[in-house]
Symmetry: C2
Subunit: 247 residues, 2 copies
DNA sequence: CCAAAAGTGTTTCCGATACACCCATGA
DNA sequence: TCATGGGTGTATCGGAAACACTTTTGG
């Protein structure tokens, strides 16, 4: 490999192995990982171990490498490195591009942002992250870079997508109670629903199937467990018209 | 400026002025521009003047430059250069990132894709485009790169967004008839609506305001002209719940 | 026995749907 | 006068919304 040395005001006496005829920006990915603890929406953040913004909380993410087959692969790789969380690509959704000139104090960095909804799990810090931690969505600390903006956009995107894809159920795991679904939807949409109407709609529509099992060890009447029928959900979502009903 | 010469299998004896410590991908933008002629949905394409895919039709777009303040600015700049079409930034919507390793035969190129809905207008070719032309959305020629995939995704994104934002009316201009709106929605959603129900809903909801003017020179009863009340539209769209009704 | 959450049925109301006839205009 | 598309009212139906009491369970 050809290597040479070269100085500029940004970076003195470092190797610059990668040379191009035209200007290239740096490209990074960032992930907004949503979770749900049964009561509140959560977001997974890491504490930065490196400058800039060392010590700040931030979205997990990092630079695209030549070995990353796609930007999605980069996002998932960084997520695993920094939080030990493994997410499958079919649960990763594109959020958008953040390309403001000064969004990173070091360089021109284009961030490709993604989001995912995952079921409750443990996370640990690693690599460039001092630690990883779930935060209540309404108690987010000050974030590095423009990550607050990215997070806000992710909330809105998720809120919209939930009308079309059964992603909400990804937050609940394979089995859940109707109350959990309702609490989740209320947390996401910021509204409340009537428990009886909510339960009836979910069951009669076929979006959930009863598993014939009950939760054990509750200090009250044991609720039934259900699973999500994602095919039915998608079929129902397909019938969406303008404002969801036909004119 | 420091300049030196260097060979590799991609590009022999060219100047490589831009050097980085780490690998950087090329970043480009592509635009899917939707139009509407009163009957059919249209898409704006350019004929490529350069290799690769010289002579193929493609989405307007090009490489991100250091002078582009944002990716959006790049997209709009390239659009203007190639088709002479000026679109305002608030009508430009992010579509997604296309980052497959081999999507461009030359190099690793990340494409940031955008879409916009514009009212009918003339376009001309320029710069890297031999010509620019509107195509009926159901009569798209073979496209360069993965642009067919980008276009497909744009159609779907637009179809979803139209539930939440009054972007459909951007295709119609300031004044329009109710039949035009209906034809447009039918073209986008691929369904038909009852003319009376459609008109009533639009008017009683307050989404359109009558202008008290009529179209002139028709070979039949002259239809009224309306304008879109985008604030009302957004307010209505806000009331969307899961499947649009409250549980 | 008490607290806490689950389960369940009926009525009301509104909006979506289906449907057909007359009107205005230019050719 | 004819062809074309514009404008409009009503009856029905179904799903959404509102609403409260009983049941189960562990403590």
């Amino acid at each position: 490999m050809f290597v040479f040395y070269y100085n500029d005001f940004n970076m003195a006496n470092k190797t610059k192995q990668y040379c191009y005829e035209y200007w290239h920006p740096s490209v990074a990915t960032d992930c907004v990982i949503f979770g749900f603890d049964g009561k509140k929406l959560k977001v997974l953040l890491i504490e930065r171990n490196l400058e800039p913004y060392k010590g700040y909380w931030a979205l997990p993410g990092g630079f695209l490498r030549e070995t990353d087959k796609t930007a999605e692969q980069c996002a998932l790789r960084e997520l695993k490195e920094e939080t030990n969380l493994v997410v499958s690509e079919d649960r990763l959704w594109q959020l958008g591009v953040f390309s403001e000139v000064n969004r990173d104090p070091r360089n021109r960095v284009i961030s490709l942002a993604y989001y995912a909804l995952v079921e409750p799990c443990d996370v640990v810090g690693g690599d460039d992250a001092a630690q990883a931690q779930w935060f209540d969505i309404d108690e987010i600390p000050q974030l590095a870079f423009d990550h607050a903006q990215i997070l806000a956009k992710a909330r809105e995107a998720m809120r919209r997508q939930i009308h079309f894809d059964p992603i909400g159920y990804d937050l609940l795991g394979k089995e859940f109670t109707l109350t959990q679904v309702q609490t989740l939807y209320e947390a996401i949409q910021g509204v409340t629903y009537d428990r009886r109407n909510f339960a009836r709609k979910l069951q009669t529509s076929g979006i959930v199937n009863p598993l014939g099992k009950k939760v054990e060890g509750t200090a009250h009447k044991a609720p039934q467990l259900f699973e999500c029928n994602k095919d039915v959900f998608k079929e129902k979502a397909q019938s969406l018209k303008f404002e969801l009903k036909k004119y």
